[in-house]
């Protein structure tokens, strides 16, 4: 018995040693405490006998030191990264020469440098507000905020590093990688034009994607449900579907009445294929038992199609929509870079011809935000339609 306890003690100490190291680190970066916290109870549950039999082991003695950072400090920590970036921007000497232009933003006349500082302060305040709101919403939100604190702090530091290397010292190759101030500047000097091009992209994307998805679902349902339609259409779909939509661009530009309709046509075909393909698969995968159950309950064929086969295909349809979504972003930008009178792709193409690389990065930032929002929107619709899957598929 004695040996057993000694072994347990040795094991417990063995486990405790790396934990103690982490605890020491905690002092340097206070937020690490939140992360190391859960690791220790896990070690304790592994050895319940040891914990019960032995009085204070190393691990237990360390416990108070590794308690999570108080929540207000976590919030301050999150905001601190961006504030550090702002301070770096103000106090770090401008070693290499750089020129900033002023522009009007609402009622403010700002240059890129000032806008960047303002943005950092706004971000810091925003995270404080989010932190307060999360605290009111409950422990789950607080836990999530805690978990993201380190990343947000690091994001602020990354901005500071980019600022120093891109603007202050210009150690990054210029003019290709300007600092954050120069990337923000076009919003001030060229804001209306960027907004106009963004709107053009949104309009083109919405028109092409929605029509494409609609046609895809209709085609998919028809070929998935009717064996004859499957026989004739599916092979055509399979062959034409693998061709990147932009390959049709010369035809589209020549044959369509306007460049907008030409690009819309390309978006329609690029989203049509994956949606049609996966809708057909979803319809065909309807379990025979569900169809038979519906028939014994008095459902006729159209009712079975709309209330059994299509709901059954929904998860698959949304997989297709996800694929169509990413293909559409690609097709949108490529077609805008070739022969469109507007759009973010067009904006990049123009900026490239004057070697305004900061403007290209600006357009890329807009795309990142815009496309993320669109994906989020689709994700919300998906979550609502497939709410019955909640807890079923991880």
């Amino acid at each position: 018995m004695t040996t057993t306890i000694t072994e347990f003690a040795a094991q417990a100490r063995g486990r405790a040693t790396p934990a103690t190291k982490t605890a020491t680190k905690t002092a340097a970066t206070p937020n690490a405490a939140g992360q190391t916290g859960p690791a220790e109870p896990a070690a304790a549950t592994d050895q319940p006998t040891a914990a019960a039999t032995l009085p204070a082991t190393d691990a237990q003695a360390d416990r108070p030191a590794r308690r999570a950072l108080p929540y207000p400090l976590t919030v301050a920590f999150t905001a601190a990264g961006f504030l550090i970036a702002a301070l770096v921007n103000v106090f770090f000497p401008q070693v290499k020469p750089v020129e900033f232009e002023q522009g009007q933003l609402w009622i403010f006349l700002l240059n890129g440098e000032e806008a960047y500082r303002a943005l950092l302060v706004i971000l810091a305040l925003l995270y404080v507000v989010i932190g307060v709101v999360d605290a009111r919403r409950g422990p789950a939100d607080v836990a999530r905020f805690r978990e993201r604190a380190q990343f947000r702090f690091a994001a602020g530091l990354a901005l500071a590093v980019w600022d120093v290397t891109g603007t202050k010292l210009q150690t990054l190759p210029q003019p290709f990688f300007p600092g954050p101030s120069k990337v923000i500047e076009p919003f001030l000097t060229d804001g209306d034009y960027i907004a106009l091009n963004t709107f053009y992209s949104v309009r083109l994307f919405a028109a092409g994607f929605i029509v494409g998805v609609f046609l895809g679902v209709v085609t998919g349902v028809i070929i998935g449900w009717f064996a004859r339609a499957y026989y004739w259409v599916f092979p055509v779909l399979k062959i034409t579907g693998v061709i990147p939509a932009v390959a049709w661009m010369p035809f589209a530009l020549t044959l369509m009445p306007t460049p907008f309709i030409a690009a819309m046509f390309l978006l329609v075909i690029c989203s049509w294929f994956p949606v049609a393909f996966l809708t057909a698969q979803g319809i065909q995968s309807t379990p025979k038992m569900l169809i038979e159950a519906s028939r014994t309950l008095g459902a006729d064929t159209p009712y079975i199609l709309f209330h059994v086969a299509i709901p059954n295909a929904m998860p698959s349809i949304f997989t297709g929509i996800g694929m169509a979504n990413s293909l559409s972003f690609l097709t949108l930008v490529i077609s805008e870079m070739m022969g469109q009178p507007g759009g973010l792709g067009y904006y990049i193409d123009q900026a490239k011809s004057w070697s305004a690389y900061n403007e290209i990065l600006t357009a890329i930032v807009v795309m990142a935000v815009l496309f993320s929002l669109i994906m989020k929107l689709i994700e919300l619709v998906r979550g609502h339609v497939l709410r019955w899957q909640k807890g079923l598929i991880k």
Partner: protein, 273 residues
Amino acid sequence: MSTIATSAQAQAGTVTDDPGAQAPLLSISHVERDFTSPNGQRVQALSDVSLDVRPGELVSIIGPSGCGKTTLLRLIAGLDKPQQGSVTFKGRPIEAPNPERGYVFQQGSLFPWLTVRENVAFGLKAQGKYREHAGEVDDYLAKVGLTGFEHAYPHQISGGMAQRVAIARALIDHPEVLLLDEPMGALDSFTRADLQDRLLDLWEQYHMTMVLVTHDVDEAIYLGNRVVIMSPRPGHIKEIVPIDLPERDRVSDAFLGYRKTLLTKLHFDVHEH
């Protein structure tokens, strides 16, 4: 026990020749059905099968797998058609499924994207009768003891509860016959016993006719007025054993006697080691 066996022997085959019998609700006569298996072999699922079911009867069909018991039930439901012979319901040939013949599948027949309540209401909605019968959905959910689970999705409830939903879903259209295809096959014995009692209650309450396919001897005896024993290769009715139990008691001598009779007839007694 030998008396029971003898009387069962005498009753073997159909009972249409019994002058005192009511007109059968379901009549299956000389049905033949075969299938071609994926490797091209012809499998005779049913060979010269005849069976009459009177109104209000609870008939259990038992037999080893491959004896054609599910095929027979599918013919009655109208999910399948015989190649020869006839299957009639109230004198009319069965052409297609109809809610007047409710069907409860083995398991996994609930629509996963519908809640418990929506699953039960499916038949009413499909027939455009939901508006005037909406209140009955909750009545039937209460009858199978699922009040409080209306808004759960099928994957959130247990197997026994799912089968109760399937039964409520089939019952809501007031079927004259309830066809049950091994509805308790995947359940543990406690859930199974509970569901068996619920089925008996419903059967008595609605004076319904039930045809139950099972591979469980106890279940066949406990629920059935008659037990139809089927044999494979080719699938045919081997014998029909009438059950006359004064009370539903799983351990009474009479019950155990029937158990012995059935197990003997199903050749559970000739195991050689």
